[in-house]
């Protein structure tokens, strides 16, 4: 790597330095916009005892679900963990710890983490099990919970196009948690469908500015659809 050229040539290099016990923040919503090849590389690498922060945990045999087979994940922070039998099994056996977090709070935890804000107050979850053990403060007559932000040792992100500077744009709703995850990793790795020539991306249309991105790799994607629904 030289200067602002953040391209790496192999998935092994993309995740160099990822070690047992680390926290990984992953972009994606369901199976949409997930860094599927980076996840596959974590499986190949065999890194264990990971804390994974992601809205969902994949499905059996795809997405983050593949890390469950060899029990590489010990803790998950997510808003919804359905559609995954192996996950349910490990949860019921107490082999995996789960912190269920409201979706908007999870997104804001990543955003705040990447923005240097250690905690924030939200009305989401007041009076519910989510509030247990958390500070409650009143502002203008309404109660709010204090939620702490999240940062990760690694963030794994799926983009559409990037340049070698690490500027990234996302495609359609595959954006979801990806730009938030990108800001919150000590090392942020972005895999994209296409690396374009410098200057090809309009600076005003960049979703994730290159300052957040450490490594860029170009991959091919299966893009599995979870609920294939068509007009009748």
């Amino acid at each position: 790597m030289a200067g602002f050229d953040k391209r790496v040539s192999s998935y092994e290099e993309a995740l160099a330095g990822l070690e047992d016990g680390m926290t990984v923040i992953a972009g994606g919503f369901g199976l949409c916009g997930i860094p599927e090849n980076l996840i596959a590389e974590i499986k190949r690498k065999g890194t264990r005892d990971l804390t994974v922060v992601s809205n969902n945990c994949g499905v059996d045999g795809f997405g983050l679900g593949v890390l469950l087979t060899d029990r590489q994940i010990s803790k998950v922070v997510a808003s919804y963990v359905g559609e995954n039998k192996l996950f349910e099994e490990q949860l019921l056996k107490g082999e995996i710890e789960v912190t269920l977090t409201p979706q908007g709070t999870l997104a804001e935890k990543m955003r705040a983490g990447g923005a240097g804000i250690p905690a924030f107050f939200t009305a989401t979850g007041v009076g519910t099990p989510v509030a247990e053990g958390k500070e409650v403060r009143e502002f203008n007559g309404r109660k709010y919970l204090m939620e702490e932000s999240i940062t990760g040792d690694f963030a794994i992100v799926k983009g559409w196009k990037a340049d070698h500077f690490g500027n990234v744009i996302y495609r359609h709703t595959a954006q979801n948690f990806n730009p938030l995850a990108a800001t919150a990793g000590k090392i942020t790795v972005v895999e994209v469908e296409e690396i374009v020539e410098p200057g090809e991306l309009d600076p005003a249309q960049i979703h994730t500015p290159g300052i957040y991105v450490d490594r860029i790799i170009c991959g091919t994607f299966e893009k599995r659809i979870e609920q294939r629904t068509v007009r009748k």
């Binding site: 409201p102 979706q103 804001e108 009305a123 559409w160 938030l180 609920q227 068509v230």
Partner: protein, 221 residues
């Protein structure tokens, strides 16, 4: 007769107004989109980061990168915008969505809602429901009035862990449309052919019955 799922969706669609931004939850709330009155313009918000959700795609236009919060493939209508999950929940939490429609297991006279967790059963998560009920001012809950065993779901106090506290003011069930005010359900409309007596019998929480309870109307005004 208790309302069908479609009739419930049809009744809620009457609450739409031209120019509304609306978030529809998964299940019956999704059906509401089918009954938006002709000539009325409504933008549907999907919390995974889409404002202006269009119809399902055709086989030719299906796109794995274009889904709704129920993970179904969808399209974007003209005038739509797409953004991150943080932006999406900023508009929800910030009270910018005009109407939110979602399902529930239980509601009570204090406006509490329980919709995500049944102790003893596997908990899959709350998704965006807690943010939606905390952020919206105008929420309609769609649910059946009682369980299959006849147990009321309109209670004096929710028995299940809450999704939100004191945030629900309007409930549409298969038997009635009710509002919640000052610690009571107020019976506003009854489903066609359903008696006030049946609604009273199936409502466990305090229920105020006005002298005249009109039958529900379905056609758009």
């Amino acid at each position: 007769m208790a309302l069908s799922r479609e009739q419930m969706a049809q009744r809620v669609a009457r609450e739409m107004q031209d120019g509304f931004y609306v978030n529809l939850g998964i299940g019956i709330p999704t059906l509401v989109a089918n009954y938006i009155p002709e000539g009325m313009e409504v933008m549907l918000q999907s919390e995974n980061g889409l404002l202006g959700m269009g119809p399902f795609p055709t086989e030719e236009t299906i796109d794995a990168d274009m889904i709704n919060a129920g993970k179904q493939t969808v399209t974007a209508r003209t005038g739509a915008s797409i953004f991150s999950s943080a932006e999406s929940f900023a508009m929800i939490r910030g009270g910018h969505v005009d109407l939110t429609v979602l399902g529930a297991f239980e509601v009570d006279v204090q406006g509490n809602i329980a919709s995500w967790m049944i102790p003893g059963k596997l908990v899959k998560g709350m998704g965006g429901a807690m943010d939606l009920v905390a952020g919206a001012d105008n929420i309609i809950v769609i649910m059946t009035h009682a369980s299959k065993d006849g147990e009321s779901k309109l209670l004096s106090q929710c028995s299940l862990p809450l999704t939100g506290a004191g945030c629900i003011k309007r409930v549409l069930t298969d038997l009635a449309y009710l509002e919640i005010e000052n610690g009571a359900f107020i019976l506003k409309e009854r489903a066609p052919g359903v008696s006030v007596e049946e609604i009273v019998a199936k409502t466990a929480g305090k229920l105020i019955v006005p002298d005249h309870v009109p039958e529900m109307q379905f056609a758009a005004q």
